[in-house]
């Protein structure tokens, strides 16, 4: 023993930290228009803000589960049709998988559910001028 060994440092990322990370990565991926929390979970997030916020309501569109060493991230989101949706989904999953694996060292599986589509600018209702 030299007494100079590096101390063992254990870093643990909470589910909340991983949720916020995944939320940020998903929202900033090209082709993603918004995250889509369930209504009840959005309400819970708002209520949580009054107790210990700040907590972004969009984060409730993300859930984290851990099974042994694997972290599973589930994200509900709305996307555009351009860029191609499959490319968008692959990009979101890759970004989240890579980032969470990098910070935690755990294999990560990201499960995405497309809840809504933002049609391209052909949304006719937007073209109707206000009366």
């Amino acid at each position: 023993m030299t007494g100079l060994e590096q101390p063992v440092v254990t870093v643990h990322y909470t589910d909340r930290a991983l949720t916020t990370l995944a939320m940020h990565l998903a929202r900033t991926t090209q082709g993603v228009t918004r995250l889509q929390p369930q209504l009840a979970r959005r309400a819970a997030a708002v209520a949580r803000n009054t107790l210990g916020g700040p907590y972004h309501p969009d984060a409730s569109a993300v859930s984290i589960s851990r099974e042994e060493a694997t972290i599973t991230v589930s994200v509900r989101l709305a996307i555009k049709l351009d860029p191609p949706p499959l490319r968008t989904l692959d990009a979101v999953a890759a970004r989240i998988n890579d980032a969470i694996t990098a910070v935690t060292g755990c294999p990560t599986v990201t499960s995405l559910t497309v809840i809504d589509i933002e049609p391209p600018t052909s949304d006719l209702t937007l073209a109707i001028p206000a009366e």
Partner: protein, 197 residues
Amino acid sequence: MSTSPEHGLPCGRDSLSVWENARNDTHDQHEATCPYCQGVYEQFRILAIASDPYLAQAITAPTSLIATVMRTVLTELRPGRPLPIPSDAGPAFITDTALAAALRAALDTDPAVITHRCRIDTVDVPETARSAPNTPTQQPTPLAVQLSVAVSYEHYTRHGESVVRTRVIDTGRNLFAQQIDTVDIEIIDVFSTEVNR
């Protein structure tokens, strides 16, 4: 001027109540002379100068407001059934309502067709073979699409059904790698594009 997180002023007054008094022009003797309260008054005055012209304007809601709100509400309350999307990056799903929206968007580009209803069902898949969310292996389920459309009698040809079917199948396959086996089309109305011009 500094305020505490609870909106308290150094003089003991609450900045929100002082702000409210400024708004209602009901200040008392203290607020008329206190520098902290006067600071709140000054902030209110500056904001009022900037915001009053806008507050005086009549608000006209866009006609699309209700549709936009209802679409958001219905999306949240009726998210639809998840359909698996094959992906190398991990499990992915699209709800049948979202896929229907994508098909509608594709059909909307055809001026000869107005889509009224788009319903998506799975084809002959036993309950036990249907994938639940978060299961590791995801294979696309064959789908059947039922469309109700109105068609333009100037532009819709006798090959129109074939065009619609092809567009639906291609959209499902190219955008979301979905296998659409059946496209049933019900023409419920005809319209004239000339009238709308």
